[in-house]
């Protein structure tokens, strides 16, 4: 009895201590670890980040890898939990010895991972977290963001909304980093562009709020000129449904970031006339590169990509180009190469700003509308706001980091 237990324990220890990846005789592969949310509603975007990334990696490997080295990807499901994600990231860094870490849609975990990667000296590409603290106040040498952040979204929204004849605004959103940061950036930029703008009131609900009706009736009672909705993920869908059910879109102009992404899951039943910003749609921008990317993605996964796919694409491009430029996988050289690097993408040429490691990404402002040929509402009348206009200035970032 005791012997068999000892045997099992020994077996367990041997199993745990075995080298995670056997070094092959040929050049060792470049390993990339992804910690992201593959359970629950957030996986709507995370799955597309991963799938687009894998699509690109397979293309890279089919053409001989990066500098002759194959790319190997390890994914872990953080279940939207910080403690789980942190343990997984440490496993990837310390046990699998990944060359680059990527992730996650959970801003709070992304901030924790940024701190971890600074200590462990591993490059970290934030793929879906929108917190502007990642490359702003909390930014460090090892962190890069390949998606737009709340500072940029807020500025884009202010640029789009300020010229319109609205003076009294109501802000409503998730009581979460994303909601507060987006609202804060939007209002700061709005006051700069339009000093006369008035905040009629705010409402903050918990993430996953099941019923928005009480909020909507309260907002209507205040009669603002425009409602700004700073909510993310599946709450966008719930709120869009509440808009439709209460007919709010006929009474009040509404703005919501990623509304066009979320409205897809409502089919043709989504609310029309919602102002929205976005970074990527399958139908916009209408470039050859985008059409080709959509076709490849659909061929492999039998579904349309959402904006998460763009970040997966960008991450793969940036890693490949930076690796080739630096001539290997030396971390510090890789980071130097990545700073200021430009890559081609479905939304055109995109640059990684050298100072703060924030990608310069254009954004589109449009309005949800039924269009013939589509089984869902699309963002129409899109106006492209160039990425350069959206970036927080380097002086602002320096100030935020000094304050920290």
């Amino acid at each position: 009895m005791r012997k068999s237990w000892a045997f099992i324990v020994c077996l367990g220890i041997v199993f745990c201590l075995r080298p995670a990846s056997c070094p092959a005789a040929e050049a060792a592969p470049i390993t990339i670890g992804i910690v992201d949310t593959y359970s629950g509603p957030a996986s709507y975007y995370s799955n597309d980040v991963r799938d687009a990334f894998l699509l690109m990696v397979d293309k890279i490997n089919a053409s001989g890898g990066i500098l002759g080295r194959k790319v190997q990807v390890e994914t872990r499901d953080d279940k939207f939990r910080v403690d789980v994600g942190l343990a997984e990231a440490k496993e990837l860094i310390m046990r699998e010895h990944v060359n680059v870490l990527m992730g996650t849609i959970n801003s709070s975990l992304a901030l924790a991972l940024a701190d971890l990667c600074r200590k462990e000296k591993v490059p970290f590409l934030a793929t879906m977290a929108k917190s502007d603290r990642l490359t702003g106040a909390d930014g460090n040498r090892y962190v890069f963001s390949v998606n737009e952040n709340t500072a940029m979204i807020g500025k884009a929204a202010a640029l789009g909304l300020a010229p319109r004849p609205f003076n009294r605004y109501w802000i409503a959103g998730d009581d979460y980093e994303y909601g507060h940061a987006l609202a804060g950036s939007l209002w700061k930029n709005m006051k700069k562009l339009k000093p006369g703008a008035v905040l009629a009131g705010e409402s903050w609900w918990k993430v996953g709020e099941p019923d928005f009706t009480p909020y909507i009736t309260a907002i209507l009672a205040a009669k603002p000129d425009c409602l700004i909705v700073a909510t993310g993920g599946s709450d966008c869908v719930s709120f869009l449904k509440a808009i439709k059910a209460s007919g709010l879109n006929h009474k009040l102009p509404i703005f919501m970031h990623t509304a066009a992404d979320s409205v897809k899951s409502l089919g043709l039943d989504g609310p029309q006339g919602v102002l929205c910003t976005g970074t990527y749609y399958t139908y916009f921008p209408k470039t050859a590169a985008n059409a080709q990317f959509v076709a490849e993605f659909e061929k492999r996964y039998h579904r349309e990509p959402n904006s998460g796919a763009l970040y997966g694409y960008l991450a793969a491009e940036f890693i490949q180009k930076a690796c080739e430029k630096s001539g290997g996988m030396d971390t510090e050289k890789f980071i130097d190469a990545l700073q200021g690097l430009s890559v081609e993408s479905p939304v055109g040429s995109v640059t990684m700003r050298a100072f703060d490691h924030q990608v310069v990404l254009p954004m589109f402002m449009g309005v949800t509308k039924k269009e013939p040929g589509f089984k869902y509402l699309v963002a129409e009348d899109n106006v492209t706001i160039p990425g350069e206009q959206l970036m927080p200035s380097i002086a602002e970032i320096k100030q935020a980091r000094a304050k920290h």
Partner: protein, 298 residues
């Protein structure tokens, strides 16, 4: 940023009515929970997971039946029935073996059930979210004396009392209700007079879980249906049950009213901190009456 207060009589009435609509779902879910607690003495953590399963089933059933109003009404009946059947399997094959065990074991066992249901949902429906449109007849709102009342809230306002009356009838006027009330007080005695307690328990468990499924089916068209939608409702339902008195269905009604109304009025008075109001109400009630507002079943 400073919040403004918009407190007019009209908006107050409107907010109360909307709050009552929210109360309905809370009542339906928590009455099922309290029924199971009162009769079977099971603190059923998986109640929330069953609510989520109900919502997902309502989605699939409505889709299968073409997605219109007919599909919606059919799903209101079929989804809870399917949930009840699922719970019957869990009760007969698993839970019924554990009735003699400690409550702690029962709590952890139902937590295990919740984990398994949660993962099964991921396996069957995938990890993303689903969305179901409101039937056309419930879209938009009624205008009445300057009030804008969402139609679906009014519909919920009608469903709530129907369920309450149904439960009252079941508990007070049917044989199974009488036996279960007796079993709640004195389990061995009921067994001793020759009644098969096992099946009474199974039936009560099914009814309780039916209500969880019904709650899920009712919210399915108003929000995105996703994994994890059970995490907050189960805590809210437990708070309501505690506030009302364990095992007391009318306590659940009272608790839901307090919870739903403080929530929706909180939005009007101090929107930034609205979530704190219902919790504060629970604390006040429990400080004054530690064992709940109404008489506990045990």
């Amino acid at each position: 940023m400073h919040p403004a207060i918009h407190l007019t009589l009209v908006s107050l009435i409107q907010q109360v009515l909307v709050g009552l609509g929210k109360t309905t779902t809370l009542f339906i879910v928590s009455s099922g929970l309290t029924l199971v607690l009162g009769v079977l003495r099971i603190p059923n953590i998986s109640h929330g997971a069953l609510y989520m399963v109900g919502a997902f089933l309502a989605y699939s059933i409505t889709r299968m039946l073409g997605g219109g109003a007919a599909g919606f009404f059919a799903s209101l009946l079929l989804a809870p029935l399917a949930v009840a059947f699922l719970s019957l399997l869990a009760e007969r094959f698993l839970l019924s073996r554990l009735y003699e065990r400690d409550h702690l074991m029962l709590l952890l066992f139902t937590f295990a059930l919740a984990l398994i249901f949660d993962d099964l949902v991921k396996i069957v429906w995938g990890s993303g979210y689903r969305s179901l449109p409101l039937p056309a007849m419930f879209q938009g709102s009624f205008s009445f004396l300057g009030l804008a009342l969402p139609r679906y809230s009014l519909f919920l306002l009608c469903v709530g009392p129907l369920v309450a009356i149904g439960l009252w009838f079941l508990i007070n006027r049917t044989k199974i209700g009488k036996i279960s009330r007796a079993a709640a007080v004195h389990r061995e005695m009921v067994g001793a007079v020759g009644i098969n307690v096992g099946w009474v328990f199974a039936a009560v468990f099914m009814i309780g879980c039916f209500l969880a499924g019904l709650g899920g089916a009712l919210v399915a068209p108003t929000q995105s249906i996703s994994q994890g939608m059970d995490a907050s409702i189960i805590i809210e339902a437990f708070l309501i049950v505690i506030m009302g008195g364990l095992g007391n269905v009318w306590g659940a009604l009272l608790g839901s009213l307090i919870f739903g109304l403080t929530d929706s009025l909180g939005v009007l008075i101090l929107p930034q901190f609205s979530i704190v109001f219902p919790y504060a109400a629970v604390i006040v009630v429990l400080l004054l009456r530690p064992s709940g507002l109404l008489k506990s079943a045990w």
